[in-house]
Symmetry: C2
Subunit: 251 residues, 2 copies
């Protein structure tokens, strides 16, 4: 039996050119865009593999960058006071990210002006932002695709904002576990395993708690048989019980 750490951190990058092509074709938010757009993307996107903990910062790409996660997972975070961080999203296979030059005329697009860091062995496909803009004008179905994706993220973070500002620690953690499990493709054979490497500190940083509190809450979940967890991984066992904790128990 493989250890969880091996399951979550496959060795090497599987993004051969032929695989890359199929990855691009299957990007969820691009379903419905034109054939020529796919072809352009195949031509322009170059793959790059990241090992765990490698970072991509907007400072490295002053001229902007458009990227898509092919395999693995990235966390999006920002530093706050000292060495603390706030993690506010996780990007997995098929999610895009954009760094934009601050003064871009024409289409103002969203940028996570934040640092991306690989949580597991990760492969990204990236291209200069400048090459993306022509595609947007050429294919009128591309902008709406971005639009929808963006709308989803806004919905997600609004929901998360609500959970984190109105509910207390136990609820937040339960919600976060569900949220994370819904991200990214499951590892075959592990339907409840959150499919990326996720230290307690990051879990805590996603819900505004400390590592200690998070650890205590996970321990209590584990005692009740809701989850199993270890160093860098969490596996949900009792889905309905977790879901119940996420409901707004209206007293």
């Amino acid at each position: 039996m493989e250890s969880y750490h091996q399951v979550l951190n496959p060795k090497g990058c599987i993004c051969s050119p032929v695989i890359r092509k199929s990855v691009i074709r299957r990007i969820p938010f691009l379903q419905g865009v034109g054939e020529s757009t796919f072809e352009s993307l195949e031509k322009n996107l170059t793959s790059r593999s990241l090992v765990e903990a490698m970072e991509i910062s907007p400072l490295q790409y002053q001229a902007g960058l458009f990227g898509v996660v092919a395999t693995g997972a990235l966390k999006v975070f920002r530093h706050v006071q000292g060495d603390n961080v706030v993690v506010f999203d996780v990007l997995t296979a098929g999610d895009f990210f954009l760094y934009t030059a601050s003064e871009l005329d024409g289409l103002r697009m969203y940028t996570y002006p934040d640092i991306l860091q690989a949580m597991t062995t990760t492969c990204i496909l990236a291209m200069d932002l400048a090459r993306l803009l022509p595609l947007l004008t050429a294919d009128t179905r591309l902008a709406p695709a971005f639009f929808s994706e963006l709308a989803d993220r806004l919905r997600q973070i609004s929901e998360r904002f609500i959970r984190c500002s109105a509910y207390q620690a136990e609820h937040r953690v339960a919600y976060l576990l569900q949220f994370l499990l819904s991200k990214g493709p499951k590892k075959p054979g592990y339907p409840g395993l959150i499919p990326f490497n996720l230290p307690r500190k990051d879990l805590a940083a996603m819900v505004g708690l400390t590592m200690e509190t998070t650890s205590r809450i996970l321990a209590s979940f584990e005692k009740d048989g809701l989850i199993t967890s270890g160093r860098g991984w969490v596996e949900l066992l009792n889905f309905t019980a977790i879901d119940k904790l996420c409901q707004a128990e209206s007293l």
Copy 2:
């Protein structure tokens, strides 16, 4: 001298047809779209005035709704456990909102699936969502306009999320005051006055605090001469001091 309450709650709606036209032309996020789009909007948007505390709920508009705030302000909130609410945005003159039917093929657009409530006497311009969709295909500059606006909101709430999950009460309140002041046109003669009616309970609901805590913090700000406040209003006095509190004091 007018009372603050009078300043914040003008009587009556000023949206005569002729004013409406100029309002539409000056909507910030639509700058740069085509002339014909403006004409269509003028034709389709109908004005509606809301007095303080009136609500617009998605339940009333199953088929969707597109609206723009002409004057006044709306808060966007959702109920959580019991009679608590979380307020997660404030819409002022020029901001749009969208309710969409859940299963809308074609362009999936963002909806605040939440309740809007007038914070002051407010005038909105609204139209059926179905009439907006043709405009989006007719004018290719319209979708990017929405896109940019959406991107801004995502940026805003990400920032607010960070503040609320990593900093403590005093910082959050200071940040919120700045945030709110940056919203909406200032009332002439009151450069530091947050230009809408805003009870303590709502202030608290925007940063995940209770009314009591918020009140205490505002009292301490007032003691230090940073603000003046009263029933439903807050006026910033010492901008630099507030700004300093908002900085990430990195210990």
